[in-house]
């Protein structure tokens, strides 16, 4: 792995998952790690499931969703988050036609901005509570850790690990 990881219980997945040992540092590196992973010898080249450009379009769109949810949670009292269907997004938001470089740039820039907002919000910020219609009430930290786990799952998928 490109940075130390640890096992963490995710209340959203209700499973033990892998996240960066240093959460924000690992999340900050992830867009570059993902971009490099596509150039590695055993990187996936398509086949079953999403292709690399589709995966990055997905990561870019998820980061926009995360950004909106972070902002809502920091600025509102216990907001109820909107649910979206990622399979429908992949279809109607044309993941198969999206430009890889545009998606990578958006994923990276949004990740840096989201981390800046989280760092400035501090411990009090990531303890703020949101409510999800399916997964219930959680502190913002749970959502951020879930996205860190999600990043790593897709990295492993790209590497065929």
């Amino acid at each position: 792995m490109d940075f130390p990881t640890k096992t963490n219980h995710c209340p959203i997945c209700d499973a033990d998952v892998e996240i960066p040992a240093d959460l924000f540092a690992g999340m900050g590196q992830m867009p570059r790690v993902i971009a490099r992973a596509f150039k590695e010898p055993h990187a996936m080249g398509g086949g079953e499931g999403w292709t690399p450009p589709e995966i990055v379009a997905h990561l870019a769109d998820i980061e926009v969703g995360l950004g909106w949810r972070i902002r809502q949670t920091l600025a509102e009292d216990e907001p109820v988050l909107r649910v979206f269907n990622q399979e429908r997004w992949a279809d109607v938001l044309a993941y198969s036609e999206r430009d890889l470089a545009t998606s990578l740039a958006a994923y990276g820039a949004n990740r840096q901005l989201n981390l800046e907002i989280l760092r400035r919000a501090g411990e009090a910020g990531i303890r703020r509570i949101y409510s999800h219609p399916e997964f219930g009430r959680h502190p913002l930290r749970v959502l951020v850790e879930h996205i860190a786990d999600h990043d790593l799952a897709h990295l492993h998928q790209i590497r065929g690990a």
Partner: protein, 159 residues
């Protein structure tokens, strides 16, 4: 001005605003124009300075990206609003890094324009629900975005 503009009635603001004659071209050129204008801007004696304006532009482009995706993917979604003054305080606009904000604004703008191109004319005609204004189209949101850019560009330049 860097491109031709007209006066138009904004469906969202409900007032006459300056509008680019070619909205899509203006949306694409605005990150560079705003970055140049902010680099030359002086801190405001009152109201938002360059740092706050850059953070505001970055955050509103994230919010537009979220709205575009929902409008294209859902049937007449009810779109959440936000209080920009609350965001400015809760999201630390006065301390935010200008380069990080401008990079995110530009990257999100490119991604949002790609989504709009791929959605085509049928996508622009898709409708969403606004709590106060009722049914609006994605095209209304796109034109409002361009108007918003232009208003901030003029504000920064003191025009």
């Amino acid at each position: 001005m860097d491109f031709e503009t007209t006066t138009a009635r904004c469906e969202i603001c409900g007032r006459d605003v300056g509008r680019a004659a070619d909205v899509m071209a203006a949306l694409a050129s605005m990150p560079e124009l705003l970055e140049r204008a902010l680099a030359a801007a002086r801190p405001a004696p009152d109201g938002w300075g360059p740092r706050e304006v850059a953070a505001h532009l970055a955050d509103t482009e994230v919010f537009r990206g979220w709205r575009i995706r929902r409008i294209v993917a859902e049937e007449r979604p009810l779109i959440d609003g936000f209080d920009e003054e609350v965001w400015a305080i809760a999201l630390s606009y006065a301390e935010r890094n200008i380069a990080t904000s401008l990079a995110a604004f530009a990257a999100n703008r490119r991604a949002n324009l790609e989504l709009l191109r791929l959605a085509g004319d049928a996508g622009l005609r898709r409708e969403y629900r606004h709590e106060q204004l009722g049914l609006l189209t994605l095209d209304d949101l796109v034109r409002h975005t361009s108007d918003h850019d232009l208003a901030h560009l003029r504000q920064i330049r003191g025009e």
